[in-house]
Symmetry: C3
Subunit: 202 residues, 3 copies
């Protein structure tokens, strides 16, 4: 009889702590990162040093979690999101150490597919970061962000729009409904809609 | 003869480093956290992953230290304080790598009981954060903060007042001396004093 | 025959990971810090807990890297620099998780000798931080900073000048070419030049 040790489909550094069973193929988890039981991580993610993924956090595929980022219960991160170094997420809008909260009492946060959260940015809970939105380094985001929006400052305000190729678009913000723009770098075309911009498929 | 190994009254994760003898009953210290010799930590605290508590730091009871927070020599944290993820404290107001300082040359910081320091906020040294003060996420606090004050922005400015129950109070800031307010959520009553607000005991 | 184990000329904590051969004499690397293969670190540096030094990063001598700081490929840090706790550097000006970059596609950052980067400050890539410049806590630096400049805010703006002794100089910013100042603390003398201030050697 041969007993085979199952080979994990992902890589974990010898100094990483991975306590969940739910990590996808090809994901890499680096030193001093800690993934708690029940956290869900998709395939081909890169979870860098000193990251922390809490029970109840949900990550899709191809996500980059740079160093020092913590992802809490109540946070959902869709595919292809970039979370820059030391950016900070939250799940309690008004924390007090002496008021314990769990489950429904915590706020949820959704970071939609292909978005970028810049280095050392802060995202308050209860918001949605739109698809392909680009949160600048050090921005403090207090409310929901449209698709493709470029946000900077404290508090973060929208200063423009960012193409999927990460070139800024020649379109002011806010944009009038049905305003259109073409990316000078990749020639993608966009039209302004109620939820931000929409890419026009050729 | 039976030699008993003394049971520690607190919990430390197998990957935590705890070098002090001075940790209170029921405190939990999590993975990759590092507590240095001589640091003082009270009871029922929650010291999360990647936290760092330096020799000379003093923490009271029931304190939450979220991930990635470092508490330095010269910093005193009173009971029931919440220190949000990646918030940053300091103890040298004008650091230069080539000017070594210790002891009296460093500034002290006092975070008074029941205060909240939000996620990714920065607290300059030499200040006092008042009781029940609420430092918003990403705020950069340069000076002493009154009791119950709500502070946001970079530099942080006071935009209002926060109840002990973490509901914002219906009172503008600054408040006139002896101005009063009642919390819409928990009905606590307050009157403005020289150091901020004072709760009126029923 | 006696085989000697070579003694490393630097100190590494038992919980530090040091994978480079290139660390100078007297440097100290603390717990849960991670230095990757090929990173270059000079002598007498202090690399604190939870720091991360990536392959390709170059550090000079006598540098203080406080807790939680990551130094990336493309970043050069000259002698005597202070990098405050949780300050954040970058090497991709417009990251997207689905656009992989390496080598030339990344931007370089230069932090010149004797500069200070304050606690929780953010430095965008592609900039130079001048000699003796002083980046205030929480500042978000978007562009190149002159020698001796004092920068604060988000985005960071220059509000004055800082002496090598870390006393603020009695000179407004911007300064007229050839404007001069004397430090009230150490009596160093300065004259304004095209790249910031220059100290006048006695």
């Amino acid at each position: 009889m041969v007993v085979e040790t199952p080979v994990k489909p992902y890589f974990a550094h010898a100094q990483a702590l991975v306590e969940t069973e739910d990590v996808g193929v090809g994901t890499r988890i680096w030193a001093f990162a800690h993934v708690l039981p029940g956290a869900r991580i998709g395939s081909a993610c890169n979870i860098c040093d000193h990251a922390f993924i809490e029970t109840g956090a949900v990550l899709g595929n191809n996500i980059t979690v740079k160093n020092g980022v913590a992802i809490w219960q109540g946070v959902t991160v869709e595919d292809n999101v970039f979370l820059g170094p030391n950016c900070v997420l939250t799940n309690d809008p008004n924390p007090r150490a002496y008021i314990k909260k769990s489950g429904e009492a915590l706020a949820t946060t959704l970071i939609r597919a292909n978005a970028t959260v810049g280095a050392n940015a802060t995202i308050l809970c209860g918001v949605t970061i739109g698809r392909y939105a680009f949160i600048g380094a050090g921005a403090v985001v207090l409310k929901t962000v449209p698709d493709f929006a470029l946000m900077v400052g404290n508090p973060a305000r929208q200063v423009g729009w960012m193409c999927r190729c990460a070139r800024r678009l020649p379109l002011p913000a806010p944009a009038k409904l049905f305003a259109s723009a073409t990316c000078a770098q990749c020639q993608s075309q966009f039209v302004a809609t109620a939820t931000g911009l929409t890419m026009i498929e050729a």
